[in-house]
């Protein structure tokens, strides 16, 4: 075998103090962009020459250089005539243009390497073991300051080298802190950023903080409702950010009712809450308990989990979808501990009708997609990149991808006895996972070792071991991922964001807070209702959207609420309930709300899809969209949903008119129904004036139309 021979001879050469591919040449290929995605790192290479993406597989790259084109890339007698030098220095035409000059240091290194017989190097000595950075963190007193980063590579043989020039340093928020090619970081504006440092597949991060230099900041302590506020305040105080005050009662009630149940509070509920004289904190806390106990809570979170588990008749058939949805519903209604719920999914087997959790496997069907879904949904880790190459910004390797997929390699599906029924079973033979590169059998292995070791049986029941490892308190990702995900549902973004892309290069904005939430969740045996209750009871959640001079530029540290567009189902249900119109979906019982629909098949291509209801094609949180666009505005302004609802002959406006209510009462009722608050004096006057300016029924419809089209309706704030 050629590679072996080659390694032997390369090792012999590497004994001399010399340049090697591993230590000296490969970093140049990465730095000058040869191995990048648009160039030779592309899946099919470029112009017939392929290198591994970002050089993750140096041996492959070495062999590609050596053997492709029968070695024409090297001319050892006259290294300068080697294609490997002539092309990038543009001595001959190169599609990728000039990568380095003929008199550059890089040219010389490669020249010497060719002259000495292109030694590969010894992975036990020349591979990079770790990347170290100086300084470990950067704090700037004001924007405009700068700091030089130094990157040191530590090799397997213990030697070190300054590789600042060859390393890649990137900022995750360049408009806060940017970094130039010489690794100098400059502060652009107040805030935080992370520098991601990469060198030869190893990486490190440097947190950067740029303080607000404005004089006169005095921290005004606000009441803390629980540990969440403590961790938030600690960070805010350090960054010189003053949090917003509590939102008023009406705003709080609307926000928390929408966030916990996906429904608007009714006018009577708003009135009662405003009239209740119980001290604020207690009053709100009691309301939270009431909301969590409502059936609408179960409906709403059934939608969320239906999205993530892709409950859809496209994959499961009609009966299967109803069974799976019912299983999800019951889990939520009973507040089943989250770890138990996940274990039930991962270890489900048998008939999809008898054990509806087994539908989990019917969506993705194959070991690899099942593994990708499992890691993304339950661990917040995206393994998909590692199927084809080592993850570019994470430590996950291609090997790990197949090791993890191997846990599901024995899962089989076969038709059951009834129509649409499938049996999930564990195959007895031929279930080994094979590596695509050399077809070797890859045994299952956990992504990271657990504090409490879990033995892996090398048989067809291996996925049971995965369930034990994955849904455990000791798993460093499992509880953290769900704590972060649940947080994002109440704030519009995660402490790590995107929530299903957790990696070292995507750090949490408040690690102490995330750790505390995680610990609280495991201390309470994965009680998700406890987690939600804790979150919405915090002052942080209950803060107003108002900003002050100290927090107006902060969008990351939860110092004030940020408006979020209502989700598709909540929006549609909100229009119906505010207008007193009855929802009318095909194929489902009368008065089924959008939040109660079984799957995205019902009402397909209508209002809900236009407003970003997930079609459940993937387990990605990103499927649900919350943007606003022209077609949406067109629909709200001129489409049927709002226009028909406000003119409904049995709707709220019709009833108010028929009951003979006066203008003041109509205006108040419509504000309560649509915006969940009383109109202020000016609004009441303006509303009444409008009503008196024409036919009251027509004018009342107009007012309701305008309220439903207002930002105060479309957004949760």
């Amino acid at each position: 075998m050629r590679p072996l021979l080659l390694l032997a001879s390369a090792a012999a050469l590497a004994a001399q103090p010399t340049v090697t591919f591993l230590r000296d040449v490969a970093p140049i290929l990465n730095k000058t962009g040869c191995t990048s995605g648009p160039c030779h790192g592309a899946a099919k290479g470029k112009n017939g020459f392929k290198l591994s993406l970002r050089g993750y597989d140096p041996q492959f790259d070495y062999e590609a250089l050596l053997y492709d084109l029968s070695g024409r890339r090297f001319n050892r007698a006259d290294p300068g005539r080697s294609l490997m030098l002539a092309k990038p220095s543009q001595q001959v035409a190169h599609g990728g243009g000039l990568r380095f000059e003929k008199d550059s240091e890089y040219y010389k290194v490669i020249y010497n390497w060719i002259a000495r017989g292109v030694p590969y190097g010894d992975p036990a000595k020349d591979a990079v073991a770790a990347v170290e950075v100086e300084p470990k963190e950067i704090a700037m007193a004001r924007p405009g300051e700068a700091a030089q980063v130094k990157v040191i590579a530590r090799y397997a043989d213990g030697q070190t080298r300054d590789v600042t020039r060859e390393a890649t340093v990137e900022s995750n928020v360049p408009d806060v802190a940017k970094v130039d090619l010489s690794a100098k970081v400059s502060g652009e504006r107040t805030g935080e950023a992370t520098m991601l440092v990469r060198y030869q597949g190893k990486f490190s991060t440097i947190p950067v903080t740029i303080l607000n230099p404005k004089p006169g900041f005095v921290w005004k302590a606000a009441a803390q409702n629980n540990y969440i506020d403590m961790h938030i305040d600690a960070k805010l105080q350090r960054l010189r950010i003053q949090p917003a005050p509590l939102a008023d009662d009406a705003t709080f009630l609307r926000r928390v009712t929408l966030d916990l149940t996906g429904q608007l509070p009714t006018p009577d509920e708003v009135r009662a809450f405003l009239a209740d004289t119980t001290p604020t904190r207690l009053k709100r806390s009691k309301m939270i308990d009431k909301l969590i106990a409502r059936p609408a809570y179960t409906d709403y979170w059934t939608i969320k989990w239906g999205d993530l588990l892709q409950s859809s008749r496209k994959y499961l058939g009609e009966k299967g979808t109803f069974a799976f949805r019912e299983w999800i519903r019951e889990s939520i209604a009973a507040n089943k501990p989250y770890d138990k719920m996940v274990r039930e999914l991962l270890t489900s087997r048998g008939s999809s009708y008898e054990d509806p959790a087994a539908n989990f496997f019917r969506v993705t069907r194959e070991p690899k997609p099942t593994m990708e879904k499992t890691t993304q949904v339950f661990l917040g880790v995206r393994m998909v990149c590692a199927q084809c190459h080592d993850h570019p910004f994470e430590r996950w390797t291609q090997n790990q991808y197949y090791q993890m997929a191997a846990f599901f390699s024995a899962v089989g599906l076969r038709p059951g006895y009834e129509v649409g029924e499938e049996i999930v079973y564990d195959q007895r033979a031929d279930y080994d996972m094979k590596h695509p590169k050399d077809s070797r059998v890859v045994p299952p292995q956990f992504l990271v070792a657990s504090a409490a070791p879990v033995p892996i049986p090398n048989d067809d029941r291996r996925r049971d071991a995965l369930a034990t490892w994955l849904a455990s308190k000791q798993n460093p990702f499992f509880a953290k991922a769900i704590a972060n995900r649940v947080w994002s549902y109440f704030f519009g973004k995660g402490i790590i964001d995107p929530v299903d892309d957790i990696r070292a290069s995507n750090p949490p904005v408040n690690p102490a807070l995330l750790d505390a939430l995680t610990k609280d969740l495991t201390d309470h045996n994965f009680d998700l209702q406890h987690l939600m209750r804790t979150i919405v009871n915090s002052r942080t959640y209950q803060a107003a959207i108002t900003t002050n001079e100290w927090n107006e530029t902060d969008g990351d540290n939860f110092s004030h609420a940020i408006p979020r567009r209502m989700g598709a189902e909540a929006l549609m249900d909100g229009v119906a309930s505010a207008a007193g119109a009855r929802p009318n979906f095909p194929e489902v019982p009368e008065e089924t709300t959008a939040t109660q629909l079984p799957d995205p098949h019902v009402g397909k291509d209508g209002f809900l899809d236009l407003f970003g209801r997930p079609s459940r094609e993937s387990a990605c949180e990103c499927e649900r969209r919350a943007d606003l666009s022209l077609p949406q505005a067109l629909n709200l302004v001129n489409g049927r949903t709002i226009s028909d609802a406000v003119a409904d002959s049995k709707g709220r406006v019709a009833k108010l008119i028929l009951a003979g209510k006066n203008d003041a009462a109509i205006v108040e009722e419509l504000y309560l129904a649509a915006l969940s608050r009383l109109p202020n004096k000016a609004e009441a006057e303006r509303g009444q004036k409008y009503l008196s300016g024409g036919t009251r029924a027509v004018r009342s419809q107009d007012l309701l139309w305008a309220l439903l089209n207002s930002k105060g309706f479309l957004y949760i704030y």
């Binding site: 408006p563 505005a633 629909n635 027509v698 107009d702 207002s710």
Partner: protein, 484 residues
């Protein structure tokens, strides 16, 4: 039903001119993107101008008409005749001279033989599919610039998903700012389709449904209804104006929310929606009764001809991207409407398809040219592939009649015109049997890259897919030689 007295119902004709003047426009004027975005856009535009400075054709186009002949027209019978080839290849049709010296086309395209002096005929379109041979896979490749990963030759078709690469019109309507109160991206007369799969390769994919085309889904040769673009009967313009005044007041009385949503451009979208409904420009653009009978006849009194005519009206009104699909499902019956001539080739081409295409496409080129619209509009007429030069053989796994032709992506033809594209030019050449390009092959990605480039969009720009992975807008070579 509660009886609502008040104004008499308005018809779909919309407001009168006088009413419009009274109400005025409240949408586009006074609404703006926040300064931050503007400066970013300006910086990007400056870099791009620098990158392509002096390059031929860059930024020439303001809008695009994509005439997408789904089904796969037979290039050898229509655009690229080979009279010297063996009988089982050359087929029944005779070549005729065109206005391009030395370039002959099929005898059933006489009007295009004349109108080709306004266009470039590309005879070297070519790509090798990734083992996939059905229409949907090919359409997806053609219009998104990426090969589909889940469409198999066995007919296992995958419907559109939010993970799909966006179709060209979606990218373009997202990137180019609208100046007129019209729809940015319109698809006529119906979406792309193969069997039960509708819209694959013609949707916004990971850009989100908001950037899907406006799909008319009606036959422009018949009277059409446009409810969503017309003011509702019970809402005359005055009432819509009243409603917007109310809305403005309600929004203004929540100043903290207004401030927090400053960057969300809500008012901008509402302003546009208002203008769109009220101005009636988009609706008017689709009203073919405003054309003379003579003009309508010139384009052809059939679904395709009237769709092509409507595309010209939409472009005139300010739409950025109009896609006219051949109004038959891609794998439909060739004896009726489809280009998919496995079972019968010459009869349908001669009697049905070519006369329609010949009439409508020549009318469009002549009409656009005489109106000066061809200067800023890129017109492309192409299918997802051509058809096998040898008759009666199976290349896709379908069965073919002795005179039928199967799918053939390795070599086919396209007509491109406008925005500085060469006039009366043939680009590229096929081999003796029209089986593969003899010179200057143009991959569909190259054509897409050229299209983006013509619009002033960098084809190499980075986009982020549904997993937030960086991808190129399209991996293709800009064919600058297409520009005169």
């Amino acid at each position: 039903m509660l009886n609502i007295p008040g104004r008499p119902g308005q018809t779909c004709e919309g407001p009168t001119r006088r009413e419009l003047m009274r109400i005025g426009s409240l949408g586009l004027a006074g609404l703006h993107l926040p300064g931050f975005f503007l400066s970013q856009q300006a910086a990007k535009a400056a870099n791009l101008q620098e990158k392509y400075r002096g390059a031929r054709g860059f930024g020439n186009a303001k809008n695009v008409i994509m005439i997408f002949l789904q089904g796969g027209p037979s290039h050898i019978d229509i655009w690229d005749p080979k009279p010297g080839a063996p009988a089982n290849i050359r087929g029944e049709f005779k070549p005729i001279k065109t206005k391009i010296p030395g370039t002959w086309i099929g005898e059933h395209m006489p009007m295009m033989a004349n109108a080709i002096d306004k266009a470039t005929l590309i005879r070297s379109m070519s790509y090798t599919p990734n083992g996939l041979f059905n229409h949907t896979a090919a359409i997806y490749q053609m219009l998104t610039g990426y090969p589909p990963d889940k469409v198999s030759p066995s007919g296992q078709l995958e419907p559109p998903t939010p993970a799909d690469f966006p179709t060209a019109g979606s990218h373009i309507s997202k990137m180019i700012k609208m100046t007129e109160p019209v729809l940015p991206f319109v698809e006529l007369p119906r979406p792309l389709q193969e069997s039960g799969i509708i819209g694959k390769g013609g949707a916004a994919g990971f850009l989100g449904k908001a950037y899907d085309p406006y799909r008319m889904y009606q036959d422009p040769a018949e009277p059409i209804k446009l409810e969503d673009l017309s003011l509702r009967k019970e809402i005359p313009p005055e009432r819509l104006k009243d409603r917007f005044e109310l809305l403005k007041g309600i929004n203004q009385s929540m100043p903290e929310l207004e401030k927090a949503l400053n960057a969300a451009a809500v008012d901008e979208y509402y302003g546009k929606a208002y203008d769109l409904v009220l101005s009636g420009k988009a609706r008017d653009a689709m009203d073919l009764t405003k054309e003379t009978d003579k003009m309508r006849e010139r384009y052809g009194l059939h679904t395709f001809g009237q769709s092509v005519l409507m595309s010209r009206r939409l472009i005139e009104a300010g739409t950025k991207f109009v896609q006219v699909n051949w109004p038959s499902v891609a794998n439909g019956d060739p004896e009726k409407t489809a280009w998919d001539t496995h079972a019968a080739n010459f009869g349908p081409l001669k009697n049905l398809h070519c006369p329609k295409l010949d009439r409508a496409l020549s009318a469009l080129l002549e009409d656009m040219d005489s109106r000066g619209l061809l200067k800023e509009t890129l017109v492309v007429a192409i299918g997802e592939f051509g058809r096998s030069p040898r008759m009666g053989v199976s290349t896709s796994g379908n069965s073919n009649s002795p005179d039928g032709r199967d799918h053939w992506p390795y070599c086919y033809s396209a007509v491109v015109a406008g925005a500085g594209i060469g006039r009366g030019v043939q680009y590229g050449e096929s081999d003796a049997t029209a089986s593969s390009p003899k010179e200057k092959p143009v991959h569909p990605n190259d054509l897409l890259a050229t299209l983006y480039y013509a619009l002033g969009i960098d084809p190499e720009m980075e986009i982020r897919n549904h997993l937030n992975q960086p991808r190129e807008l399209v991996k293709g070579k800009i064919v600058t030689d297409l520009f005169a």
